[in-house]
Symmetry: C2
Subunit: 229 residues, 2 copies
């Protein structure tokens, strides 16, 4: 009978995390060299198994924390993958989550110990199981999120230049944006504070640094809007 509990088959539930970071080279993901079988030595998303007394969100948070030392990170559930033989050892359904983190902000000791490494999304290695598919799916979702919510707070350093913000959006959307139109759209959102300070690394003239105005930013996060870039 369809709805009887007794006949149901239990399965393993895994959580795999797509962790995005951004630096001067572009958009990156954090991958780990697997140190156990099967597929030992190959590159993989970081992941783990759901525990009996744990909800999926917390499993994702725990896994992220284990590998990066980070807490309080924005994560979003993406999709449940359930192909029969996606994991050759045992029937495992995997729920993917993605996270956005500041690439300079995690515990580098930890990721060294775990043989984790950042890869540009454009030249990441081939991954085990269905993890390539998960990454593609996450990139698509990140692009979508970019179109309805402001983004950047999570991926940029506290103080940043307009150029960095522009390049972040270009990396996410993988297309060139018009500098003037971009700046005026961002300004119209009124989510940035322009500082008096300039960044003198990037040019002789120097470019103004900005921070996010957290109140305005979170107000915009609550109400979806459309940002055509």
């Amino acid at each position: 009978m369809l709805n009887s509990y007794s006949s149901a088959d239990k399965v393993l539930l895994a959580v795999d995390c797509i962790i995005f970071g951004f630096d001067h080279e572009g958009l990156k993901i954090l991958l780990i060299k697997r140190d156990f079988e099967p597929e030992k030595g190959k590159w993989s998303l970081i992941g783990g198994f759901l525990k009996r007394d744990e909800i999926l969100d917390n499993a994702a948070i725990r896994i992220l924390h284990t590998y990066t030392g980070l807490n309080d990170i924005y994560m979003e559930q993406l999709y449940a993958y359930s192909e029969i033989d996606r994991d050759p050892v045992e029937r495992t359904i995997s729920v993917s989550y993605y996270a956005l983190i500041n690439i300079e902000n995690h515990n580098t000791e930890l990721i060294k110990n775990y043989h984790a490494q950042w890869f540009s999304i454009t030249d990441a290695p081939n991954l085990i199981f269905d993890h390539n598919q998960m990454v593609q799916h996450a990139i698509k979702r990140l692009r979508y999120r970019t179109s309805i919510k402001p983004i950047g707070f999570e991926l940029l350093p506290e103080k940043f230049t307009m150029r960095q913000l522009l390049e972040l959006y270009e990396a996410i959307l993988s297309k060139e944006l018009d500098k003037r139109n971009f700046i005026s759209k961002i300004n119209s959102l009124e989510i940035l504070n322009k500082l008096d300070e300039k960044d003198m690394q990037s040019s002789r003239k120097g470019s103004y640094l900005y921070t996010f105005n957290k109140e305005k930013y979170e107000e915009k996060l609550l109400n979806d809007f459309v940002l055509n870039l």
Copy 2:
């Protein structure tokens, strides 16, 4: 150790389906009166458990078919719900799917036998477990989908009037739309065939019937676009 298969806890995996239909009264969902414990006699989404040799998509298709007799229905995975005590009997993670069906098109014998019933989304009864939340989530997703893909084909009878299409969109978006602007936007998509035939039920003048132009419609489905209504 984090990644050992042996220490992992297995769980039950359920699939719950939010089945949308549309008729002259508005947007509806199909609910079932549970005939087993716990919560016997209360209203619930239709659902079932994932089988060992089955992927989630197929479990959703199987469940939909069991209750409606329908095949080849558009379904989309929504979200995995994992609160510890969401099902009081046993730890169960539920993956929700939503489906769009033509309300006049299913096996009414079957749904009678299963004590299933259509409810307007505006006055559906309280549901068991976290099913209310699943429904709200599904409505939100349906609205989103409406903004990036044409919709209607799945929910309307083969021949329909502009008014019906308008009312479908109004029901999904739960806001009034300007008739003239709506019609010209829909026409600009070029996904409809205007028939010579008129529907004389709704008015003295009668209103033209339309069908979907399947080729054009599926072309539009492939490329996301934005339809601001």
